[in-house]
Homo-oligomer: 397 residues x 2
């Protein structure tokens, strides 16, 4: 986006006050990037840039294509956002100049990505063609293409991609019942370790904050697959097998998400597929220790950075609600209704506030996680994912 | 520092290549702040600004006074460093413009500070006059002065200051055997909760990454004092009582530091005062579960962000060494000698590297935490503390 276009666009924004900082420099504002973030404009292919200190919209970048299931990772310095579009586009955006610097159509159907711990490699996970592709974070030059080939002529859809320490990525093969770990230490010659028969249809995954346990949810059966990556010889272990067994399965309205941390203290909080429950798992024994009844089928189950609370949103028809769990006693302490069609939540780096997108109310709400007061509301057309630059400093996001 | 002075200064730096980025803007470089940091020039009152992506020195800011025991916290956006000098000065530095924006002499003898979770309040902990002072982070205007008065006419030296969620600060009174928690929700009317008789001479403290447990080390007796801040009625509990009892005490060459996180998984790693040992504590039972013999009296015991390693440096005469503990088996796996008089260590945000200052070799070393290879060496005169902007996103730093 050119400077002139940017100004025309900016004039339409609701938060013109936030633009004062632009005067200091001819090309972009002199400001830090630690409190920046982005909100996906799901319907209009636009990335909205926000400031979590002033709780204001700073600008927007258009032309990002189909963002219906988009996600974002950040460069180490917090200057560049890498946006993974559903249409297979990977776009690099300069947040201060508010413009696209690089853009490649890298697949036909993509479902997110990750950035290596050292910030040099960006990886995309693709449905079509199934596999991952690894790019130079500075130029988006393709460095490695790892097709998820599991049988002659067959490529699996890839889900649950996360970064691991040491330029490695872990991901799951939905159609191949497998987890792969690819080491890109030499990015043009990636080395992949394959774990087969992990359980039917892994649909998403998370890595624990310490990078130790990779956990994939299974859609084709009850339970999750877990790998202890710190073991000398990592193997796959089934956890929570049969958590819904013998009970009438509910229709699944939306696949839950596991991405991001849902680990608080020694417990992991996981959405039960199709059930109105959050499962609580001990991260030492990996046994279920509690189930928390919630207001619908959970989609995101996210721990506040300090682990004191877990916030949950829901699929249709309960997606106007958000529930807050107190991790001291595993009880729901609050039910909020921040707007219609809650699609995502993101905590500020130290967790004093949470940002929540309500797609059908064209609104992002900022809520104090202690008082539960609404601190701000931002007008954003059909917002979905919210991503703050503090993700750059954390593993597995 | 004026622009002209800055250029003159910059010419003397070893990393001129890093200055290329300055060309983009008349007043300061267009760049993110997420990968910036500072190194204290202990002997010359200078703050050195570094880039953890290029592992280069970017510039320096002079005139910060006595930095012999200085520490730094950051604004939420990563643009401003707040430097607490030993002489009682509090200085606010713009990292991109490389200049001082505000500076106050707020005490006669100061020992560090903290910034509130929401980034609005900066607090200094002082020896003379004993107490804390709270400032507006934008202007350094004094908002609250809380003298550590514990008897008529007596003010205690304050140590172990940390931020807690919700604009609160916890700190310890060395001379009063007390821990205070001050709530600055209304900063001009702070409310202080006092815990008395916590044990003799608390000398430093830490808060666990979840903000739940505040732990003060005791110089006047064996053991530590701990408060569970999540309890409905927090009380002080003694942990590790008598860990050195019955053994010949060693002379203490330098007080260990507790600041920063030394929590990895469910264990906390703590320096044993005067002993060549690191104590390992279970953070659920708060019982000692192991002791790790190390190469000297530990000063800093710091967990890599993923908790997979704990790094330890030492007091005289062993302060040319650094040891690395593998937390899987609590064993020292490596002893490094990065230079003379190792004073501080700082991990990159995701822990792929650690920066180590060697005062008497006028060197900062950057070391890969997996291969243990030295990735870079920077020439810095008498470096001590190293602080990265990623601290802004974390509690208790």
């Amino acid at each position: 986006m050119k400077r002139r276009e940017w100004l025309a666009t900016a004039a339409s924004l609701s938060s013109l006050a936030a633009l004062g900082g632009l005067a200091g420099c001819a090309s972009a504002p002199l400001r830090g990037t630690g409190d920046l973030g982005t909100v996906i404009g799901r319907a209009n292919g636009t990335l909205y840039i926000v400031d979590t200190s002033t709780r204001a919209l700073l600008g927007e970048v258009k032309g990002l294509g189909d963002l219906s299931h988009a996600s974002v990772v950040y460069s180490r310095d917090g200057l560049f956002a890498f946006v993974f579009g559903r249409d297979g586009a990977l776009t690099r955006v300069n947040l201060l100049e508010q413009r696209i610097t690089h853009r490649v159509m890298q697949a036909g159907n993509s479902i997110g990505g990750a950035i290596s711990a050292d910030g040099t490699l960006v990886a995309a996970q693709n449905y079509t063609p199934g596999g991952i592709k690894v790019f130079d974070a500075r130029t988006l030059e393709l460095l490695a293409d790892v097709p998820a080939a599991y049988a002659p002529g067959k490529l699996s859809r890839v889900v649950g991609l996360v970064d691991l320490p040491g330029r490695r990525f872990a991901y799951s093969l939905f159609d191949a019942d497998a987890i792969w770990v690819t080491d890109c230490s030499d990015p043009r010659h990636p080395v992949t370790q394959k774990f087969e028969g992990i359980g039917r249809q892994p649909y998403d995954a998370l890595v624990t904050p310490n990078g130790r346990h990779y956990i994939a949810g299974l859609f084709g059966e009850d339970g999750l697959a877990m790998i202890d990556l710190w073991a000398d010889q990592p193997t796959v272990r089934r956890i929570l097998g049969g958590y819904g067994k013998g009970q009438q399965p509910l229709p699944v309205y939306k696949m839950p998400h596991l991405r991001g941390w849902a680990v608080a203290g020694r417990h992991a909080y996981l959405p039960a597929i199709g059930r109105h429950e959050v499962l609580v798992v001990d991260t030492e024994s990996w046994a279920e220790v509690a189930r928390i009844p919630v207001a619908g089928q959970p989609v995101f189950v996210m721990a506040r950075p300090d682990g004191g609370q877990v916030w949950v949103n829901f699929s249709v028809p309960d997606y106007h609600r958000v529930q807050v769990v107190d991790t001291r006693n595993q009880a729901v302490i609050r039910t909020l209704e921040p707007g219609k069609a809650v699609l995502h939540m993101e905590f500020t780096p130290r967790g004093e506030a949470v940002w929540i997108s309500s797609r059908d109310d064209n609104r992002v709400s900022v809520i104090d996680t202690r008082s539960m007061a609404t601190l701000a509301r931002l007008d954003v057309p059909a917002p979905s994912g919210i991503f703050f630059t503090s993700r750059a400093a954390r593993m597995g996001f």
